[in-house]
Each structure stands twice: as structure tokens, then as C-alpha cells.
Symmetry: C2
Subunit: 333 residues, 2 copies
């Protein structure tokens, strides 16, 4: 009862109004990505699947949706000093690109262990790279320093209303492109993507089911949902380099109240999903982007109540920035 009351009275960080505003604001800067289907993958999954291909998005991932919404929401005076962020890569490239489109500087703090292709993307879009150690602490400290020195505005990767609203625009497109879907499966990390997707989808269709897909080696969201409070982990260990962040205070309430379940998958399952995307869909999907398909194909999902109640499943392939060498080597582990 307590949880239900909580849910009904809760005001979340974004809503259908802010998400529709985001859609108008970012339309000139993003791709409306296609939805692909595959009879072969439907057969393997035992369900009808609709792949929302954010790997074809500008910058190779969904992140430009939130980043362009945040950057183009700034007042001119604020914007002039530039923007700063810290990120393992896709958000960094997206902020660089959005800043370039607006004609303002972007200062990007990148941990030393970020994938090469993601760093290249940042440079390609004109972001100024500032290196940090791999820890969240180091990233945040370096970003704060840059912020103090330049006066740039921090664009948080997920714990931000504009970011969540921008990511939510995926649902507006997906439910138009594949109106019959009853379930959406979304990768979860800091929770910006799933919060936006969930708030938009449930506003349009309250009965739609939203499932989070999470790597076992970074299962803070699953643990948080099980315990009813934000849990962080001392360390993470997964091939999905984009899914190592922990929930924030703006994303947690959505995950707690509105995300129906969290399915965890191991790296072997993620790699197999990447392989199927490559071999059957012909789409390059990065590990973090393939986790949704991995969840749909998992035994855990097949044994859940949601399995019986799902027939048309939307899967968000959230990004495609994977070094080919990493892909090839992962297939031969």
C-alpha cells in the first residue's frame, strides 16, 4: 500500500509535456531512427520483436536526444561559456556534437579506460578532451575543476530533467512506428534512458510493460529495486562499458515505481546478442546496446510472468559504437 500511495503522489523529473517539448526542440538535430524486424530473430525469441535502432542515431547512440535537449534549453548567456561533462563516451560525443551545433565550447572529461572509438567520436565533433582516472570520483572532481575554471554548465549524463526528457522522445517515435507493442525492453545504467522511455510510454499507454536490462556485473539497479533504495557497488565488471553508472535521485523514483522488472544478463549472453545483431540484423551494436536483446533471449525472462503476457516487444538497441576488434575478440573468448 505504501508503495502504491507513493507512486500516485510522486512527481517525477520529466513528464509527457516536457518530453513533447523536447521532441520539438531537438527535431532539427537528430535522426528519426528506423525500426527493424527480423523473422529469424522472432523465431529465435519466440516473440515478435521490433528493434529501435538508436545505433543509427547521430553520434552512434541515443545520447544526442538528451544532450541536444539540454544544450538547446540553455539561455544564450549561460551557453556562451560552454558545457562540460564526464562520460565513458557516448554522452560525451553527444554533448560535443550538440555544442558544436550550437556553436559553443564543450569540455569533455573522459576516463582513461574509455573505448577508442568513443574518444574518436568526441574529437570528431570538436569536444576538448580532458583525461581523468577511471573512477567516478576522479571524473567528478576533474569536471568540477573545469567548471570552476571556465564557467561552463555541467550537463549531467542522466540525472537531469532535460536529459531524461530528451531520451523519452524515443518512445514517442517507437509507439508511432510499432503501435501494437505491449512491452519495451531498455538498457539501464544511470537510468536517464529508461526514465524518459518509461514516462513517455506509460503516458501514451498505461498498460505498456517496461523491462530494464542490466549486466550482472553492474547490477546496482536490480539490487536497488529489490531493496527499495539506491544501492551502489564498490566495483563493476562487465563488457558493457556504457552501463557502469549507478542510479541518481531523479531516475531512481521512476525505476522504483514504474519500471516493471529488471532482467540481469551475463557477458556471454550480451556477446551472443551482439553476434545475432551483427549476423542477422546486419547492425553493429555495442555491448551496452545489445543488453536488451540478451534479456529477451534469457532464461530469466522465459521463466517470468512477463513472458506469458508479452507478445510484441520493442527492444531499444541503444548504441553502435563498438571497435570491430573488440567485437571480433569477444566472439572468440
Amino acid at each position: 500500500m505504501e508503495r502504491k500511495d507513493n507512486k500516485e503522489n510522486q512527481i517525477y523529473a520529466a513528464d509527457i509535456v516536457s518530453i513533447r517539448e523536447a521532441q520539438l526542440r531537438i527535431a532539427p538535430y537528430i535522426h528519426r531512427t528506423p525500426v527493424l524486424t527480423s523473422t529469424s530473430l522472432d523465431f529465435i525469441a519466440g516473440k515478435q520483436l521490433f528493434f529501435k535502432c538508436e545505433c543509427f542515431q547521430k553520434g552512434g547512440a541515443f545520447k544526442i536526444r538528451g544532450a541536444s535537449n539540454a544544450v538547446f534549453s540553455l539561455e544564450d548567456g549561460q551557453a556562451a561559456k560552454g558545457v562540460v561533462t564526464h562520460s565513458s563516451g557516448n554522452h560525451a560525443a553527444a554533448v560535443s556534437l550538440a555544442a558544436k551545433l550550437r556553436g559553443i565550447p564543450a569540455y569533455i572529461v573522459i576516463p582513461k579506460n574509455a573505448p577508442k572509438c568513443k574518444v574518436e567520436n568526441v574529437k570528431r565533433y570538436g569536444g576538448q578532451v580532458i583525461w581523468s582516472e577511471a573512477t567516478i570520483q576522479s571524473r567528478e572532481t576533474v569536471a568540477r575543476k573545469v567548471q570552476q575554471e571556465t564557467g561552463a554548465v555541467l550537463i549531467h549524463p542522466f540525472n537531469d530533467k532535460n536529459i531524461i526528457s530528451g531520451q523519452g522522445t524515443i518512445s514517442l517515435e517507437l509507439l508511432e512506428q510499432a503501435p501494437g507493442i505491449d512491452t519495451i525492453v531498455v538498457p539501464i545504467s544511470g537510468g536517464g534512458l529508461i526514465s524518459g522511455v518509461t514516462l513517455a510510454a506509460k503516458a501514451l499507454n498505461p498498460s505498456i510493460r517496461v523491462l530494464a536490462a542490466e549486466p550482472k556485473g553492474a547490477d546496482d539497479a536490480a539490487r536497488s529495486k529489490a531493496e527499495g533504495r539506491i544501492i551502489t557497488l564498490p566495483e563493476t565488471d562487465t563488457i558493457a562499458d556504457g552501463l557502469r553508472a549507478f542510479l541518481g535521485e531523479l531516475t531512481w523514483p521512476v525505476v522504483r515505481d514504474l519500471v516493471d522488472d529488471i532482467i540481469t544478463v551475463d557477458d556471454v549472453e550480451i556477446i551472443e546478442a551482439m553476434r545475432l545483431c551483427y549476423e542477422i540484423l546486419k547492425v553493429a551494436v555495442e555491448p551496452s546496446g545489445a543488453v536488451g536483446l540478451a534479456a529477451v533471449l534469457s532464461q530469466r525472462f522465459k521463466q517470468s510472468a512477463a513472458w506469458n503476457e508479452s507478445s510484441k516487444i520493442g527492444i531499444i538497441l541503444s548504441g553502435g559504437n563498438v571497435d570491430l576488434g573488440v567485437l571480433w575478440e569477444s566472439f572468440h573468448r
Copy 2:
């Protein structure tokens, strides 16, 4: 003058009527494939590019368009005995799939050097594999034998009105999806794809330019066009395994009269185009499928008259059936 008269009086194997009929006939069996764009690739090419992604087509290549048109054009009596073809792979898989959809047997003669993933596709779609030697002669001899033994109808990979008409449906979609394009670049092998694409595109817009893209190691079409008669080669040597066939008597007149130019590219250029498709578009494109982008990026094209006259270029990414190992190894040659 002689050539112009010839062109005006020539009746070609297919026309806009047969292509529109094909579109209606095959609609239930094929994907309407998306057109992708990329600011990064536009920048590299110096032109606005529109990628028609037939790698996302059923079976991973455009071939299902022609194959389903041919298979579903058969009378019931003819169809019952099944169909037979010989192919290096994509046409074979497409005929297998089309036959499966119609519920009839497919006998597929495959040369021993065909890529593994293409043979897997044939088996996945229920085609009965019959091996031949790699030569065209051996393929044709074995196919004839199967035909005699089973009574199956031969579905030629390109020298067939129904095949040409089916492939032409790509233009109907492309010109709807990207109405402003002034140039289409198409891989050429036996000429079925480019004949259909050219006949449809020029019927809709007579001023549209159609350029063929051909590997230097299998440049029979370029030689044929230069000499004004069908030239075949004693052997071919290219990574583009789908582009080793020679023009037929139905496709040659279209290439001779209506294709504006043929751009040849070497394997290094093809591999670089595959890499760009993978890294920037996030699309798995096989060597034969990447030859169009390779042509657009070539010096040969930049030095041609067509370069100055082109601004919006449609590129047909004709297929995506590439073993990941082949892709990886080709990048490290």
C-alpha cells in the same frame, strides 16, 4: 546516331509496368528497407548521400525482391515441381526463402568457394544444397542436371524479366524516400539489379543519372560498355564475391543504352568503404554491397563530369552477408 536510334527503338526486358506489378506481388514477402543518412559520410564524400539499406532486406540482400517475384509468378502446376538455381549465395538464399514462403522445394547449386554465411542462409531457409565446382560452367551443368531430374523451374540470378522487375522495385521505394536524388550508384555483376533500378528510376525521372560500380578484378561490364559488346573474362579476382558474374543478353542492352557510366574500384577501396559503413553507419555491408560507396569516394568519380553534376546521391548497399572474420581480416591486410 546509330546508338541513339538503337536506344529509342529498343524494347528492354522489363518496364515500369512490370516493375509496379512486381511491387504489388512481392509486398507481402519483403521489407521496405530504410534509407540512412550520415553527416560524417556526407563530409567525407563531399556530397549528400542516401543509403538504401538492402542489407536489412529479408535474407540480408536485395535478391528476395527478384526471387519472390519470379517464384510467385509461376503457375501452380509449374511451381509444384519446385525451383532450381545456381548462385554464389544471396540469390540462392532468396530463392530458398521465396520457395519456402510458397511451400515448394528449392534446389540450390552452390560453388564450393561460396562464403560460409551465405551457405548457412540457404540452409536456414530450407534450400537443398547441391555442390558444384567454382566455375560458371560447372554451376550451369549441375543445375541443368537437377532440372532434368526434378522438373524444377530454373530461376536465373539475373537474366530473367521477373528478376529484373523485382530488383527494380528498389527504385520505386528509394525515389519516394529520398525524392530529391539526382544520381543513383548501383553495384553491377550480371546486371539484374542495375537493369531493374535503371528502368524504374528513368521511367520516373528521365534526367536521373545511374552509375554502375564494379570491382576492377571483375570489370567485364566496364569493358563491355567501352567496346559496345558483351565481354567476358577468363577469370575474376576480387573480394566482392557477389560481383563475379558477366552480363546477360537481357541486361546488356540496359547497361549499354541507359546506364550513364561505370566506375571501377579496387579491393582496397572496397574494404575502406566496408569499414566506413561499419564504423560510421553501423551497418554490416558485404564487399559486393560496399562497392557503390567505394565508387562515390573514388578519384575516378571525382574527376568525372558526373561529379560536378551530382549533388544528392542514392547509394544501394545491396547486401550485408559478410562473415565477421572476413571483415576483420580484410581490415588488417
